[in-house]
Point group: C2
Chain length 200, copies 2
């Protein structure tokens, strides 16, 4: 299976690489500046060019996209625009632009986050974008052509990120990253669609 | 109680007017072009000007905001921008800009829609925006100052809209509009916060 992995060199991306290794899969590693190919997910044109050079494939797995962490009282219109443009519209564009290239019965795996159900201070944009992505995935699942599937992985904080992120998630028990990677594997190799794979 | 009702002349807005009438409440009716005051919810500046002229108040209730209904395969970047700018960022801006003006222990009531949990064909933007609004409300509830509360009403199709909308919601049993208005009343006059009031 040929898998386009967006954000291949982030924490989750590396874990997905490990989880999918050794079963004959061809993993196309895509980063912002590194990897087999580069993409700026905030640009539809950049995404289109990526798929044109990659050619056909069976899966798109995304471990990319950013939001601005800031207190509600300080969130500016620009903060919102960045957050919606990157983690939300970046992933939506990666889905929409892939449709002409992806093979029949292929799949999309997106990433949200725990904040829409368990908010933390300064996590309003994260909560909003995660809620949006989960609504998108449920609705896109019923419309995608070619027997395509789509799911989203909703991870809580990773053990691997606890050192610098744990202070913002008081009392949250981190998950080991390999479990998040297994959720990607389930989405890519499984049969379900329109699902939120919660890892906590 | 002084209630700023945004979208006062839409179907839901009129029902909220009726539900809140006759208990000594002062309802400030705001429309795009009609009402006591006008606002363009896609413009932060227009929203700021609205609150400056209205002065202090106890509640903001929103029954406004639009999304583009179109099949996933036809959704353009512009369609997304419009939908996120109107129903999502319009409501978020109405909350953020109100904070300096609204009285202690005041409340915000937003509106989402059933599509994030029960998608229909061509409803991808509606599903995405509704999911976003529900994530936003849960996260904003834990950060709002001054004892402010925030909830969102998630209505399914209204009986009053069945004639022209029912065909897009096969098998969905419409609700009578007064029940949606009661959800607004519960949010405005109740004590809870961070809640999704589902009316179906």
């Amino acid at each position: 299976m040929k898998i386009v992995l967006i954000g291949a060199y982030g924490k989750i991306g590396k874990l997905v690489q490990t989880a999918m290794a050794g079963a004959g899969h061809d993993i196309v590693k895509v980063g912002r500046k590194s990897g087999d190919f580069q993409v700026d997910i905030e640009s539809r044109e950049s995404i289109r060019q990526l798929y044109q050079v990659v050619g056909s494939f069976d899966a798109v797995a995304i471990a990319a996209g950013e939001v601005v962490f800031a207190p509600l009282s300080q969130l500016t219109a620009e903060n919102w625009q960045f957050s919606l443009g990157s983690k939300l519209m970046g992933q939506i564009s990666l889905v929409q632009e892939a449709i002409p290239f992806i093979n029949e019965r292929g799949s999309f795996t997106l990433v949200s986050g725990v904040l829409n159900e368990e908010p933390i201070f300064a996590g309003v944009t994260g909560a909003t974008v995660s809620g949006a992505l989960e609504g998108f995935v449920r609705a896109a699942a019923v419309e995608l052509p070619k027997g395509l599937r789509i799911n989203v992985v909703n991870p809580t904080i990773l053990k691997e990120s606890e050192a610098h992120m744990g202070q913002f998630f008081p009392g949250v028990i981190p998950v080991e990253g390999w479990r998040v990677a297994q959720a990607y594997k389930r989405s890519i190799l499984g049969v379900q669609t329109g699902r939120v794979y919660k890892v906590d």
